[in-house]
Symmetry: C2
DNA sequence: GGTTGACGCAAACACTTGTTTGAAACTAGC
DNA sequence: GCTAGTTTCAAACAAGTGTTTGCGTCAACC
């Protein structure tokens, strides 16, 4: 028997053969189901049935249901933050040491998330994970959230430089708002469809991205009012 | 015995004596716990213990746990939409038949929600309820969501008039974004606090409201780019 | 060819879940 | 003081939960 939930993490798990790769199949099913329904409402029996694996597979490969949720979140967060960092770095290189245009910074922040959501709507999982981590979840979960915020921190300085009219505190607040728009973009697209009488739906990815970027860039650039 | 979950709804339940008023106590506890943790993760035993009532009280007064969630959501939605409608009507009266200023429309839309969240952070419940209604929830839940969107519809025309540079479709999209900012304002304030190193927290209500309104008004007013 | 370790599988485990029951306690109305 | 209707309560119910167990299977290695 193998010890519970060991991480080999040595790269991206080559998957040399056409074998189903149980661990990854479980992660995929969990990501989808947890986002569609909710973590607590999805039973391991339902999950493993959807994934086409045995009931005991989750506890064997991940150790527990809680650990599976953490693993799901980690996989998504790593991919997302890696892509964000790459885009931001490229923008900074294009700027040649100066401050990149605000629009490019914002695109580096939210384009990966929107792209990711087109296939996996993982964003719907974020709020759930926050509640889980602050509630009965293991301490690991809270640490992961903090690490995720750490990656976000990478964007503060560029944003502050691109928004010289704002005090630092306001930059934090508005970054918070931007993340809000991003997170609830897909959590209920049904509302947008109902609201617009079917006029608005998820057309192509660049169009949606442009719409969101237009909105939040204008919000970020809003003048600062002393309250 | 009383039939399950009858609605007397005749006003606001006078509560003439100092009796705990079981039904309301349960709603309060459920609103708080469902928002803090999640609907599925809170057991009726935990909930009734927190509310200081007997375990069977939920099934007696509401019929089932599902029906309780619907009741919680309904109470909040009714209060919120009533207040929104009142503020919008007042703004329209001030405008004397013309179009109210964009800022006042936006304030009518989001100020009640922010005010409400200061005491009950019900907004964290919205996303959960959406997932519940689309998933295993009873058809009642879905109807309630649609009715909620109906109330939102009330804001479309005023917004469209105040934003003549936008085609109707864009108004829908941006209204969707505004709701996004509103909903994830409080869902994880912890992130904002961590991100800002404790600089940003929930100070007074008017300051937070002003910040949000500044942001979304600028976003709404952003020029329309043809994509 | 035999042995070792990793993995899949069906069955069972101990426990919690939402819900129901039947009787007790309480509150008016006459 | 009695009765009828409403609400509370402890106890039990059946069903579902996450987890563990023990054995079977397969591939790799000396």
């Amino acid at each position: 028997m193998k010890a519970e939930a060991e991480q080999k993490e040595g790269g991206t798990a080559p998957a040399d053969s056409a074998r189903p790769d149980t661990k990854e199949v479980i992660l995929d099913a969990a990501e989808r189901l947890f986002a569609e329904k909710s973590y607590a409402s999805v039973s391991l029996r339902e999950l493993t049935a959807a994934a086409g694996v045995n009931l005991a597979a989750v506890n064997y490969h991940f150790g527990s249901k809680d650990a599976l949720l953490v693993a799901v979140f980690r996989r998504g967060a790593v991919a997302l933050n890696r892509e964000r960092a790459r885009l931001l770095r490229e923008a900074e290189e294009r700027a040649g040491g100066g401050t990149p245009p605000l629009r490019e910074i914002v695109e580096a922040l939210i384009a990966p998330a929107i792209r990711y959501s087109f296939t996996s709507n993982r964003l719907a999982l974020y709020n759930q994970f926050v509640a889980f981590a602050r509630g009965d979840g293991p301490p690991e979960a809270r640490e992961m959230l903090d690490k995720d915020v750490g990656h976000l921190q990478r964007f503060v300085l560029p944003l502050a430089r691109a928004l010289p009219h704002l005090p630092q505190q306001e930059v934090y607040w508005r970054l918070h708002f931007v993340m809000g728009v991003q997170h609830s973009l897909y959590t209920d697209m049904k509302r947008l469809e109902t609201l617009s009488g079917g006029q608005c739906h998820l057309d192509n990815l660049p169009a949606v991205t442009a719409r969101v970027v237009d909105f939040v860039v204008a919000g970020l650039e809003a003048p600062h009012r002393v309250v």
